[in-house]
Amino acid sequence: MSIFVDENTKVIVQGLTGGQGRFHGLRNRDYGTKVVAGVTPGKGGTDVDGIPVFDTMEEAVAITGANASFVSVPPRFAGDAVLEAARAGVSLVVCITEFIPAKDEAYFYNLLANDFPGTRLIGPNCPGIISPGKCNIGITSGSIALPGGPVGIVSRSGTLTYQAIHELSQQNVGQTTCVGIGGDPVPGTNFIDCLAAFEADPETKAVLMIGEIGGSEEEKAAAFIADHFSKPVVAYIAGQTAPAGKKMGHAGAIISGSQGTASAKMEALTAAGVHVAPNPTVAGQMMVDIVRAF
């Protein structure tokens, strides 16, 4: 099994006719993902390498029966694209767009939460989600992932997701699903959402979690793990040496005052029984050791 996406996921790429949308949309299809349509207003009736393009999400969903969308449009259009996908009734929206204004993000997050509880948003500003061998939505390189589980991965950082996948695959430890939840202040899906799904997935036996400085999502995840999570968790928090008051690349990765430090997150996770690693390499090795001992 896997979480959120599998071999039955049918994806529409919003922005398929753009440079990024085309590049990643076609790569996702080549991986085996059912990419059934694209949507670009004004380009309905055309196609991208055989994938039909529609003017609206509503039309695309009605005709193809898609249940997921991949938003790859510029920041100023991203909010509307996410809401259009939700209104069209898809249950999953993956938004990779970076640099979306925080007000737009807070608005569509809350609108989805209020009016479209059946739609899960992953991102924005994330690498996407891959269930190896089944479905890849986003920009993760499928070639580094290894199907078959037993490890689930959830991460705020793109490159560290790839790093984590690679550490495991190299030692022949596969993954059920890898979710990049993104580095923005208001992510649509958080650690707890992923942990709850991994807990319910019988094929996921352990979870590798990668957090970073900023916010308090890791602390909340720690509390959730202590009370509701039965499987082993290994965690790494990036930014242990980051100075306060500087955004470390991601909009969400900033220490303000004493809030959001790596040490506070690591302490909370350790107290919740999580195996906390000092760096990604050690985290990978810890996970390999845990899996080997099963």
Binding site: P75, R76, A113, I144, S157, L160, P278
Partner: protein, 382 residues
Amino acid sequence: MDLFEYQGKQFFAQYGIATSPGGVADTVDEAVAQADAAGYPAVIKAQVQVGGRGKAGGIKIANNADEARQYASAILGMDIKGHLVKRVWVERSSDIKKEYYASYTLDRGAKKYLLMLSAQGGVEIEEVAKTDPDAIVYRHIDPTKGISRAEIEDAVAAAKIDQEARSGVADVLELLYDAFLKGDADLAEINPLILNTDGKVHALDAKVSLDDNAAYRHSEWADWQATVEYDGREKLAKSKGLNYIGLDGTVGIIANGAGLAMSTLDVVNQVGGSAANFLDLGGGASADTMSAALEVINTDDKVQAVLVNIFGGIVRCDEVAKGIIEALKRVELRAPIVIRLDGTNAELAREILAEQGSDSVIVEPTMLQAAKRAVELANRGA
């Protein structure tokens, strides 16, 4: 983008929030002229983006032109916690009866906007939160619904704002929400928000931080953007589209991805070194991007070794290796360079790099080994 106080007051003015009349000055003569125009007693305030400027002597009240000259001379050019005062704000001193606190921000945890209001203003709100937490009223706001006048009035009453100031404070809170929302501020804070002896309420200070991602819809930010200060390297990096933050160590860092770059800083620290910078190349790692990154790092005299940490997913490592070799031809590095490439086609990439044959280009297979080697070289060079 964090605004200076005077810019914050300009921002407030755009949304109709009252402040004390005044003006900016870059020289002592200008400051005296501004004080004469505002009338005495006049307040001269250092424009720096750091807390505690009052305690540091950066805020003075002048009762006449001679005092204005004396204080402006002292404040202009002053160093406040490493911030050089280049500009002062001069305004008419207010007859303060009471000081309050008001702000709107995004509460990341709750994923909603947050109004904070307190009858105890004029001091650090963090201090109030510690010493008298009940003195702060918190109201979460659903971004899809906003905040109504009735909800604002309720918050004002709950914060025990003085009766005579309640309607004035509520007016400011309505305008401030508008400014926060339409002005795309991450933070819009007034501390203190004052009740004057004449019964009027107005903003005596302005702390505003704007969301850079929203800059495309605010052409009116241009003047403020022009005053953002970067050190020379940060400016150079920005002009080349790199995400760079200067630090104090001796190992120059180049990585692809914010997370990996942060992680590289961590690992360098764990093996006994210190990073000279944070540098995220972004998704690509072409010869052009790599040259730009090396060029920026090369201008940092503290750097004794460079560590390149790349994970190739979609970007193939062999292409990155070729890019690095090309970049090394364009930029003459002062320090040795240690390269770690992992991911797609990593073996091939290492062969390509090994063939170029320079002693000062070292290839290591893992992040940890590469960091150790770079730190060793940096410590030797220092």
